[in-house]
């Protein structure tokens, strides 16, 4: 099913949900299968006749398919509307851009809030544990269903970047290029630790009800908000927090209590409460788990270069941000080193910024310039006018 939505009147945009036919189950790394499978997605621009201009955009942990359209819940522009649009590095007048909601997500793709066909109830915790590779497998099914044999590029930041690496490992023959931004080839102990804090916050909320909150028509909003607050700190650099808030107070003088005296407290509380309107707590558990389980080298005998052994024909571009401490430049360099060792064609840039991990969807002219140049050169190499 496909319905037309209006992101920008000038661009041809489709938003819809692909429901895979019965019998087309998604095999999962855990051994389970998911059926029926639905993937919510949007496309911007038009697929050319040769089907050579398709670019898949992969979202981060709390992103969704609304990359360049107005978000239906928040009413705000999509998470990458700074990069996707007419005249922007990912120009829909030139490229056919596909943005999907990951499997396990909560914006229309099959996830823990979806109905389990066997019981007629929402999955909740009976939803199988998913992995980054499962997300990518579902995307590959959708790309195939859209009639695209080879993607001009697959691009994403953070968890999206991990999907890009997984694509290169699992479907190198379907890729012409791959752009991995602010990501890592595996989750570190620190990454897992922060996620565990978030999950425990959700599970400690009495309204979570062992994952079956939907049946009780309640939501563990407080726990999810705290999870978001903790995670949000990791998306910013210390300098960015200091620059934005310092020790500035909300009102004149201290409250001598536990109100949000400091602006940074108020900001985090706002981040937490606004997040719960658009995200499902169980999806948060499942997707953070998928990230924690991600270790691309471990999938290939402990040698990261082996993951890219068949990707010699893919043009890679790896980008990191100097102040990102969640997925640091050192982790991106590890990826580049493995790509070099595998004999892949790899480029790497560290972008100087104090904005931290979130820089990949903030105003960062060097990022835009680098992406613009790379995509233009890639399109040229593939013979696009």
């Amino acid at each position: 099913m496909t319905v037309t939505a209006s992101a920008s009147p000038a661009i041809e945009t489709h938003a819809g949900t692909h429901r895979f036919p019965a019998g087309k189950a998604l095999r999962l790394d855990s051994g389970a299968t998911l059926e029926p499978l639905e993937i919510a997605y949007e496309t911007y621009g038009r697929l050319n006749e040769a089907r050579t201009n398709a670019i898949l955009v992969c979202h981060a942990l709390t992103g969704d398919q609304h990359a360049a359209s107005i978000h239906p819940v928040t009413g705000k522009p999509g998470w990458w509307s700074r990069v996707i649009g007419p005249g922007l590095p990912l120009d829909p007048e030139r490229y056919f851009i596909i943005s999907t909601n990951v499997v396990g997500g909560c914006m229309g793709s099959t996830g823990p809030a979806s109905q389990d066909a066997r019981t007629g109830e929402p999955y909740g915790l009976t939803f199988p544990v998913i992995t980054i590779a499962d997300m990518v497998r579902a995307q590959a099914l959708l790309v195939e269903a859209l009639g695209i044999e080879t993607l001009l590029a697959v691009v994403g930041g953070s968890m999206g970047g991990m999907q890009v690496l997984q694509w290169a490992a699992d479907y190198p023959e379907k890729l012409f290029s791959a752009v991995c931004i602010a990501a890592a080839a595996r989750h570190s102990a620190q990454n897992i630790a922060f996620h565990e804090v978030g999950r425990q916050a959700i599970m400690a909320d009495p309204e979570w009800r062992a994952g079956a909150y939907m049946k009780a028509r309640v939501r563990p909003e407080k726990g999810l908000a705290v999870a978001r607050m903790a995670a949000h700190i990791t998306y910013l650099s210390e300098q960015a927090l200091q620059r934005k808030f310092g020790r500035e107070l909300q009102r004149d003088g201290l409250s001598w209590g536990f109100d949000a005296d400091f602006q940074v407290e108020s900001y985090l509380r706002h981040q937490g409460t606004s997040f719960v309107d658009r995200f499902d707590a169980n999806s948060y558990l499942y997707i953070t788990r998928a990230l924690d389980y991600f270790d691309l080298a471990a999938q290939h005998g402990g040698v990261l270069a082996n993951a890219f052994a068949k990707a010699r024909g893919v043009r890679f571009c790896v980008l990191s941000f100097s102040s990102d401490w969640l997925y640091s430049t050192a982790e991106s360099r590890d990826i580049v080193r493995a790509l070099n060792a595998a004999g892949c064609r790899a480029s790497f840039v560290e972008i100087e910024t104090d904005k931290g991990h979130d820089a990949f969807f903030l105003d960062e002219p060097q990022l835009d310039a680098t992406l613009r140049g790379f995509f233009a050169a890639t399109a040229h190499a593939r013979g696009l006018a």
Partner: protein, 236 residues
């Protein structure tokens, strides 16, 4: 552009273009915005990779479709696998490295051959300038004053050939470069050359290397090549 045309007026580029085997895998260390790599792709259809320290340089390379890794020649060569390239090129920057000896050694680990050009501090202009003015030479090859020069490890032709000997490197070819003039094949250990060569460009390989592809070739044609010498322990 044909390989014989003068590329961007850089005489070293023209020489490098001559030296490189068609279709080779090439790493250009300190590739700037990729001019040399572009010439090599066009003239010799090489499989090109760049290493560049500046973000602006890397971005410019990406926009040209070149594969470039942002990094520092002093530190990041260590991360390339052994024999990943046929040639590693280091043009006029060895004297700017913190550890030229290590860099030279690494170039010949990651590549079968290295193409290295160095300004010769033994050139008569340098000697004359120091002799007559009593100050650090400022010449057309090395124009910066001592307090702002990026050239922190200068050497003479004789110094460089000594280092090659010490590292057990073989000089497969050597040419003197002088701005505006065609390259001149030379014997780098000739005493006169140490006076009259402004910049020297070397094609180097490891002496004890049985790997096919590292066969010494006279790439300058019928030139009298320096004879490989027995490795001598140099006193330090």
């Amino acid at each position: 552009m044909s390989p014989s045309a003068n590329p961007n007026g850089r005489e070293d580029f023209r020489e490098i273009l001559r030296l490189v085997r068609p279709g080779a895998r090439v790493l250009d260390v300190g590739c700037g915005s990729g001019e040399l790599l572009e010439l090599l792709i066009e003239g010799k259809q090489v499989d090109a990779q760049g290493l560049e320290i500046s973000q602006a340089g890397v971005s410019a390379c990406l926009a040209k479709g070149l594969a470039v890794v942002q990094g520092d020649g002093d530190r990041d060569l260590d991360h390339f696998p052994t024999r990943a390239f046929d040639y590693a090129i280091l043009s006029k920057t060895l004297q700017q490295m913190r550890e030229p000896r290590h860099v030279l050694s690494e170039l010949l680990r990651i590549a079968g051959q290295a193409i290295v050009s160095v300004p010769n501090f033994g050139h008569w202009r340098m000697r004359a300038s120091l002799m007559t003015r009593g100050r650090m030479p400022e010449t057309r090859a090395l124009p910066d004053p001592w307090w702002s020069t990026p050239n922190i490890h200068l050497c003479t032709l004789r110094d460089f050939t000594d280092l090659c000997r010490e590292l057990e490197l073989r000089i497969d070819a050597c040419a003197a470069l002088s701005s505006g003039k065609p390259a001149r094949p030379i014997r780098p250990d000739g005493a006169l050359e140490n006076w009259r060569s402004e910049t020297a460009l070397f094609l180097l390989s490891r002496r004890h290397d049985d790997t096919p592809g590292a066969v010494p070739r006279d790439l300058f044609g019928d030139v009298d090549m320096p004879k490989p010498e027995a490795p001598k322990r140099k006193r330090r």
